[in-house]
Structures are given as structure tokens and as C-alpha cells.
């Protein structure tokens, strides 16, 4: 049974190959069947393997399967092999199931588009690469998947390639993440050169044995891997690419830029948690970066007009939560939030997609409104997603996962009041911007004309994801609410439990109530500000200082501006200046000098005998003169 493991990534890749080779000759129906089917079978297979894993957990707590040795050079023996443990099982489950639902949604969403087969080919390649990433048993294979998903992200952001702006956004995404990837590559070199292996489990063991805590190598290794994670997961300071990545089709944003790829950084850190434990400085940096990112992105989300950009900033912010959890050592909480986030954020993106499709490619929320009667299914599912994102207490998945993170950031020995405060404030921000979006889009007066209502293939994924966004949280109930830690229990063979420093039960309850109230308060505030009393916001918008702040937040805290001045322009300038290669000028100078000599000497060839005779005479004078003097 575990022998089928390789099929999970292989099936989508097979789909990719079929679609690339024969895509232009297949009918749309066949393309949809191949594209969705391959992922669907992979999803079924992963559920099948997962139940097997749960029912009969292997003694070593993992399955592994080696296909072939990739490179064989002395110690350097990375192989193409897959490693299934609870952590990767969760990842595989989310990737395949959410991936399948989004594929299904896309079959309808993209039905009017050119390049239908190209779309599904890229999507399949993405799912395959993502599965390789999460199943890889060594860092090099992980890196392969890592770059593969980056590539697919690039290809899919730039899917509508005829618009140069999309291409630019795609390049930006690839290049910014590649900067992080480069750090990660250096990390790989460091790990291999010092530990003589790239196999993840061996790396962890050897690191524990040979690197003392806070040793320079451990810190460097963790920091370099963190660099990769920051790029891929769009955290400070490499977060700028994600909002622009919304140029891609909406299912792409849902799959890649919300549910799966952007959380690869979280997976990487969780996967190599030993390294981070060995480097407390870096782990603390992870927490701080997470906290900062979740706040900054939350404020930016509050000011966006484009519904997808709101969701993009929200994604950055939620991944910030995950980083916060990782930073305080609440590994399983991060993965838990990853899972619930994948459900509700995919749901929100797909909902936004059907709104956008209905209004003929209208992204601006201020031109929407009153859609709740026009698009009832979309509205209801979107509402569930929004509630889950805002962590509406008790009934939503987001509540359980986010609450766990906020609590951990207080209770963990690595946590603290400041980190907790950031998470706590973030909760208010989250519900505020989420329901701003809901109220602007679905409530109020109607502004647009609905042209296209979602069909069955778009509704099914919405409904399933909405269901998951609710029940997904019940796998892990806090001590105050039934104490059912099934999820973290499942993961505890891979991810060590959070080390609590202040584990007061009553405090936890108080904090949960506080967070719940905050979330509801946020929703209420959004109701007041963006639905009931719009003039408050309008009056606020007139004040110059708030305008300035608005602009600042709207532009994502000016990072783009800064990077543009700091890196992009100088680089372009240098490239343009040196287009003709100044080194060539040196050789051109030599050539010019020779040509000059040639001209000067050819002047002496006057064609006049008298001059030649004079020349000979002069030569004779000089020669004899030299002879005389010597």
C-alpha cells in the first residue's frame, strides 16, 4: 500500500506531460478530465494512504520510498525518495484535496479562456511540484519542488501573458522568491559541507549531535533556511511580490498564493524545527518577523480597493500568524492554522473569483455591493469563510487555530506579552478588514450588473470548502473547550509539543473570551464603519494626515517604493550604462591605437621617390651615426 506513495506526485506530473504534449489537440472536456482527474486520483490516493496511516500507524511513524539515487558522488547521495510522516500527510492531504477542488472550480471558471490546456498543465505541474516539496526526504529534492512551485507560480501569474503588467508581476514574484531561494541554496551548501548529508532526518540527528545550541553554524544554517522561507511565504522583508501576484487567474491565487505554495516556508521551518530549536536567535527572529508581518499586512489589507489584494494582504498576515506560532515553538499550531487557512482562504478566493466573474472582471470592491441576493451561494459560503478568517468563536475553524496561536504566543516559554499583543491586535484587524470586504461586496446598494452566475462545478468546491472551514477546526479543541488535541497529538511524533511556561487554565479561558470579543468587536466596527455609517470613513478620508497614512498603507508600507529606489533602479541603471561592456572598450582601444599607428605610418608611403630616397638617407645617417657613436 505505501508502495503507491510515488503515484501521488507522479499522477499530476503525468497529467502535465499529457497536457503539454497533446494539449492543443485535445478538446476542452478531455483537458478538464485529464487535469482535474489526475489531481482527483492523487487526492483519493492520499486519503486512502492517510486512512491507512491513521488506522495502522507504522512503527517508525513514517513510510518512505526510494525511487532512484539522483546524484551519487561520495557522501553526496541525494535520492529521489519520498517520506510520509504525519506532517507531510497533513500537507499532502491539504494540497491534493484543496488542489482538486480548485481544479474542479477552474474547469468552469476558465472555460471561456484561451490556453485552457496550458492552464491545466501548469496547475498540474504545480500540484506535482508541491507534492514533491512536501514529500521529499532530502533537502535537495525539497529544493526541486520548491523551485518547481516557484516556476509554476511565475507561469500562472503571467498566464494572461499578453498584458505586459502580468508578466512584470510574474517576474517580480519569481525573482523575489528566488532571492530567498538563493539564501536557502547557500544553507544547503552549508548543511552538506558540515554535516555531509542532505537527508532531512539525518540532518536533524547530526545537527543535534554535532552542533551545540546557538553555535554559529546552527544559527547560520537556520537563518539561511529562514531566508528561503521568507521569500516563499511572503514575509518581511520579501513580502512585496504577493499582492502583485494577484495578476494571475483567481483559482491560481486561491491554490498557489493562499492555500499551498506560500505556506511552504511554514512547512520548511516546521520540517527542520530541530535546526531552529538549536538557533534560538533565529527562532526568535521568526516570531518577531511573523508578528510584524501580520500587523503590517493587516493594516495594508484595511486600505485596499481590489478584493483580491485584500485577500493577498490577508494571506500575508495569516502566514505571519503561522510564523509567530513557529517562532514561539508552537509547531503544530502553525500547521493547524496552515490547514484551516488553506480551507477558508481558498474558499474566500474562490468566492471572490465568482464575484469577479459575475461582474465581468471587476476587482474594485467599491464598485460592487448588494450581491447577497444576486449570488446567494457565493454569499453564504463567502460569509462562512470570512467568519472563519475573523475567528468567529466556537463555530469556525479559524477560531480554534488562531486562538491556539495567540494563546501559545503568551504561554510558550519563547513567547511574551509583546508577541501576544501583536497577535491579539491582529485579531481585531483581521475581523475588521474581512468584514469591510464582506459589507462592501455583498451588502449595501447594488452597483454592478450580474452577468454570469456560478454553475455547479463552481458551487461544489465552494460548499465543500465552506464545510471544511467549519469542521476543520474540530480536530483540535483547546483545554477550555473539551480538550481534544487530536491534531497536535497526531503530529507529535514529528513536531515537539509547545513548551509552556505559563499554562494557567483560567487565564487561557479569559484570553479566549477576550479574543472572541475582539473578533466580534471587529465585525461590529466594520458594520458601523463600512455599512451603517459610511460617512465616518468618508469624513476620515478628508483629513490630510489620514490620507497620507491611507496612501502609505495602501502601498504596502512603501516597500515597493523603497526597493525600487534601492535595488531595481540602480541595477537597471548599471545595466544600461554598461550595455556595451566597458572591458570591450579596452580592446577597442588597442584596436584604435593600432589603426592610428597604421594611418600614421601609411602617411610616410607618399608615393614619391624623393621621399623614399630621403628616408633611406635618413636611415643611413642614423645607422652610421649609431655605429660611429658606439
Amino acid at each position: 500500500m505505501p508502495e503507491l506513495l510515488w503515484l501521488i506526485p507522479a499522477l499530476p506530473l503525468l497529467g502535465f506531460i499529457v497536457l503539454v504534449a497533446a494539449g492543443s489537440r485535445l478538446s476542452r472536456r478531455t483537458v478538464a478530465i485529464v487535469g482535474t482527474g489526475s489531481v482527483g486520483i492523487a487526492a483519493a490516493l492520499s486519503i486512502f494512504l492517510g486512512t491507512g496511516f491513521l488506522a495502522y500507524p507504522p512503527l517508525s511513524h513514517h513510510y518512505s520510498q526510494t525511487l532512484w539515487t539522483w546524484i551519487d558522488l561520495g557522501d553526496f547521495r541525494p535520492s529521489i525518495s519520498f517520506y510520509l510522516d504525519p506532517l507531510s500527510l497533513v500537507m499532502v492531504f491539504v494540497v491534493t484535496v484543496v488542489g482538486f477542488l480548485i481544479h474542479l472550480y477552474s474547469t468552469e471558471f476558465m472555460s471561456e479562456e484561451e490556453g485552457y490546456s496550458r492552464f491545466f498543465a501548469y496547475m498540474n505541474l504545480f500540484v506535482g511540484s508541491m507534492l514533491i516539496l512536501v514529500l521529499a526526504d532530502n533537502l535537495l529534492l525539497l529544493y526541486l519542488g520548491w523551485e518547481g512551485v516557484g516556476l509554476c507560480s511565475y507561469l500562472l501569474i503571467g498566464f494572461w501573458y499578453k498584458d505586459t503588467a502580468n508578466g512584470k508581476a510574474a517576474m517580480k514574484a519569481f525573482i523575489v522568491t528566488r532571492i530567498g531561494d538563493t539564501a536557502m541554496a547557500v544553507g544547503l551548501f552549508l548543511i552538506f559541507v558540515n554535516l555531509r548529508t542532505l537527508n532531512i532526518q539525518e540532518v536533524m540527528q547530526k545537527a543535534l549531535q554535532s552542533w551545540p545550541e546557538s553555535s554559529a553554524l546552527a544559527v547560520a544554517a537556520a537563518a539561511l533556511l529562514l531566508g528561503g522561507a521568507l521569500g516563499k511565504s511572503a514575509q518581511l522583508p520579501l513580502q512585496t511580490w504577493l499582492p502583485d501576484a494577484m495578476a494571475g487567474p483567481t483559482p491560481v491565487s486561491a491554490l498557489i498564493h493562499a492555500a499551498t505554495m506560500v505556506t511552504a516556508g511554514v512547512y520548511l521551518i516546521a520540517r527542520t524545527n530541530v535546526l531552529f530549536t538549536l538557533a534560538p536567535v533565529v527562532q526568535e527572529a521568526v516570531a518577531i518577523i511573523g508578528a510584524l508581518t501580520l500587523l503590517l499586512a493587516g493594516f495594508s489589507a484595511l486600505t485596499q480597493h481590489d478584493i483580491k489584494r485584500v485577500l493577498a494582504y490577508s494571506t500575508i498576515s495569516q502566514i505571519g500568524y503561522m510564523f509567530l506560532a513557529l517562532g514561539v515553538g508552537a509547531w503544530s499550531a502553525a500547521i493547524f492554522h496552515f490547514m484551516t487557512h488553506a480551507f477558508f482562504k481558498a474558499l474566500l478566493f474562490l468566492g471572490a473569483g465568482s464575484v469577479i466573474l459575475a461582474l465581468e472582471d471587476e476587482h474594485n470592491m467599491f464598485k460592487m455591493g448588494g450581491l447577497r441576493t444576486e449570488l446567494p451561494v457565493t454569499f453564504r459560503t463567502f460569509l462562512i469563510g470570512a467568519a472563519s478568517l475573523s475567528a468567529l468563536p466556537l463555530v469556525t475553524a479559524g477560531f480554534y487555530s488562531k486562538d491556539l496561536i495567540i494563546w501559545s504566543s503568551w504561554s510558550s516559554d519563547k513567547g511574551g506579552p509583546l508577541l501576544w499583543a501583536a497577535g491579539f491586535a491582529g485579531a481585531l484587524l483581521t475581523s475588521l478588514y474581512t468584514f469591510r470586504m464582506v459589507f462592501l461586496t455583498f451588502f449595501g446598494e447594488k452597483k454592478g450588473v450580474v452577468n454570469k452566475r456560478p454553475g455547479i462545478r463552481m458551487k461544489i468546491p465552494l460548499v465543500i470548502l465552506a464545510a471544511l472551514s467549519i469542521v476543520g477546526g474540530f480536530v483540535e479543541l483547546p483545554r477550555t473547550l473539551g480538550n481534544f488535541p487530536a491534531f497536535s497529538g497526531f503530529l507529535n511524533t514529528v513536531l515537539p509539543p509547545v513548551e509552556t511556561a505559563h499554562g494557567d487554565l483560567s487565564l487561557e479561558a479569559i484570553m479566549q473570551i477576550g479574543a472572541s470579543l475582539l473578533s466580534i468587536l471587529g465585525i461590529y466596527a466594520a458594520y458601523i464603519l463600512f455599512l451603517k455609517r459610511r460617512r465616518y470613513t468618508e469624513e476620515l478620508g478628508i483629513v490630510p494626515i489620514s490620507q497620507a497614512i491611507h496612501r502609505f498603507w495602501f502601498s504596502g508600507w512603501g516597500f515597493d517604493w523603497l526597493y525600487d529606489r534601492l535595488f531595481v533602479r540602480p541595477f537597471f541603471w548599471a545595466a544600461r550604462i554598461n550595455r556595451d561592456d566597458f572591458i570591450d572598450l579596452i580592446y577597442a582601444g588597442v584596436a584604435w591605437y593600432n589603426r592610428f599607428l597604421h594611418r600614421a605610418l601609411s602617411l610616410t608611403q607618399s608615393g614619391r621617390i624623393r621621399w623614399y630616397a630621403a628616408g633611406i638617407t635618413l636611415g643611413a645617417i642614423i645607422t652610421i651615426g649609431i655605429a660611429v657613436i658606439l
Binding site: S602, L603, S606, R608, I609, R610, A613, T617
Partner: protein, 103 residues
């Protein structure tokens, strides 16, 4: 008493004639005069050989003169043919006319 001579004097005369010929080559633009001046120079160098041969009482200097003579004859014949050709082409004896091979 045998007649005596200073070797240097023979050389001086040869040098003077050579110098005059050289001035002629450099000054004159008429190709005919250039050829004449070359004859003067050749003759002067022949004189130097003969003078040097006379110093030792050996025939080698004279042999050299004969070679120079042969060469002068060959040179003049070709040179004069060239003069005719030049005049035919340019309708002038000005050697500077034939400067097509200038750099």
C-alpha cells in the same frame, strides 16, 4: 719611385660624387635626372671599390666594379624602359605623377 696616393683621397672623391648623386636623387623630380643621379652614385661606389683595390694592389676591387657596371647596365635598361612607359602614361617625366601606390 712609384707613384703614391692617399687612400683617403680616393675615398673622398668617391664620397663627394656619391653625395652629389644623392642630392640629385632627392632634389630632382624628373625621372631622367633621377636615373642620371643614380648612375653617378653607382659610379662613385665603383670608384671607392677600385680605390680600395688599388691600396692592396689586388684585382678584387676591379672585379667588383665590373659587377657594378653590369648591374648599372641592367638597371639603366629597365629604368629607361620605365621612363618611356611613364611618359607614355602620364605625358610627363615628373616622378611624383606615379604616386598611385601611396598609403
Amino acid at each position: 719611385m712609384m707613384p703614391q696616393a692617399l687612400l683617403e683621397h680616393g675615398f673622398l672623391l668617391a664620397g663627394a660624387l656619391f653625395a652629389l648623386g644623392l642630392i640629385g636623387v632627392m632634389v630632382r623630380r624628373n625621372i631622367l635626372f633621377i636615373l642620371l643621379s643614380i648612375e653617378i652614385m653607382l659610379n662613385a661606389s665603383g670608384l671607392a671599390f677600385v680605390a680600395a683595390g688599388a691600396r692592396w694592389g689586388q684585382p678584387d676591387g676591379q672585379v667588383m666594379f665590373i659587377f657594378i657596371l653590369a648591374m648599372a647596365a641592367a638597371e639603366v635598361s629597365v629604368g629607361l624602359a620605365l621612363v618611356i612607359r611613364l611618359y607614355h602614361v602620364f605625358k610627363s617625366l615628373d616622378a611624383d605623377c606615379a604616386s598611385r601606390m601611396k598609403g
